[in-house]
């Protein structure tokens, strides 16, 4: 009985790490095997899952407006063309690079 209780407590402490994905693969297998043999344990996992759902709702989701999207993407584009130099592989490549650079001025 004592052994059963200590086992139960041990796996109880592992619910959050299990849901967090911070258990090792061996621990995950042990945990899942324990849950299979203790159906009442599933309720506790469900409670923790609800808790995690609540936490997710407390994390802000920024509104990504069309203007912000356009502004960030055009800055990304400019940064790539300004900060990165392409090495031409032959004459045609060199013409392509010069053409792209001229277009992105």
């Amino acid at each position: 009985m004592i052994e059963m209780n200590s086992n139960y407590k041990m796996f109880e402490r592992k619910i959050v790490p299990y849901l967090d994905g911070s258990l090792s693969s061996q621990e995950v297998s042990e945990f899942e095997a324990f849950v299979m043999t203790h159906p009442d344990f599933e309720q506790q996992i469900k409670n923790k899952q609800q808790e995690i759902q609540l936490i997710k709702q407390m994390i802000p989701v920024a509104v990504f407006s069309k203007e912000t999207k356009e502004s960030i993407e055009s800055e990304m584009h400019a940064s790539i063309f300004n900060l990165i130099k392409e090495e031409p592989k032959g004459l045609f490549d060199s013409v392509r690079i010069r053409w792209e650079e001229w277009r992105n001025r």
Binding site: P17, D20, S22, M58, P60, S71, E75, S79, I80, K85
Partner: protein, 160 residues
């Protein structure tokens, strides 16, 4: 990799990056600037590797893996720049933070970032270790503290 390929690989990340920047600094313009600065810092550090890389963008799986890898690289810079900026702007953040997210913005910037990595973007603990450059026990501690503080706040709200 050509610049055009790099652009098509990285531009779909803009929304996700913005979400993360907003968790550090809840101000539209500041968050936008943080995305751009982190992106530039990443490009400057990685440019040689980026250009030397041959990519097959036709393979959807291959480009997704590469995109995720670069996403993590940009987030690394965002954390470094963003935490510093978030501390400098802490007074402004107290005013600009959305009222429904006050408990979240009361957390330390690094804890906020780790919580978003875990619960918003669903990164594994191993991936978070890599992004935030912290040992595993510190990552787990930050997740635990963040969760504890948010839930305590929720319980306080219920009991009042």
């Amino acid at each position: 990799m050509k610049r055009k390929e790099l652009h098509s690989l990285l531009s779909p990340l803009s929304e996700k990056l913005y979400r993360f920047a907003y968790t550090l600094i809840p101000d539209d313009l500041q968050a936008e600037q943080l995305v751009i600065d982190s992106f530039n810092a990443f490009l400057l550090r990685e440019r040689k590797k980026l250009m030397a890389r041959e990519v097959d963008l036709v393979s959807k799986n291959g480009s997704q893996i590469l995109r995720r890898q670069y996403f993590k690289g940009i987030l690394q810079h965002m954390l470094e720049i963003g935490v510093r900026r978030s501390i400098q702007l802490s007074e402004q953040i107290k005013v600009s933070r959305p009222q429904e997210y006050v408990p979240y913005y009361s957390l330390e910037p690094k804890v906020r970032f780790v919580m978003s990595l875990r619960y918003d973007a669903q990164f594994s603990v191993e991936e978070i270790e890599e992004i935030v450059q912290m040992p595993r026990y510190e990552v787990i501690e930050k997740i635990h503290n963040g969760r504890f503080l948010l839930l305590s706040d929720l319980n306080r709200g219920v009991n009042v």
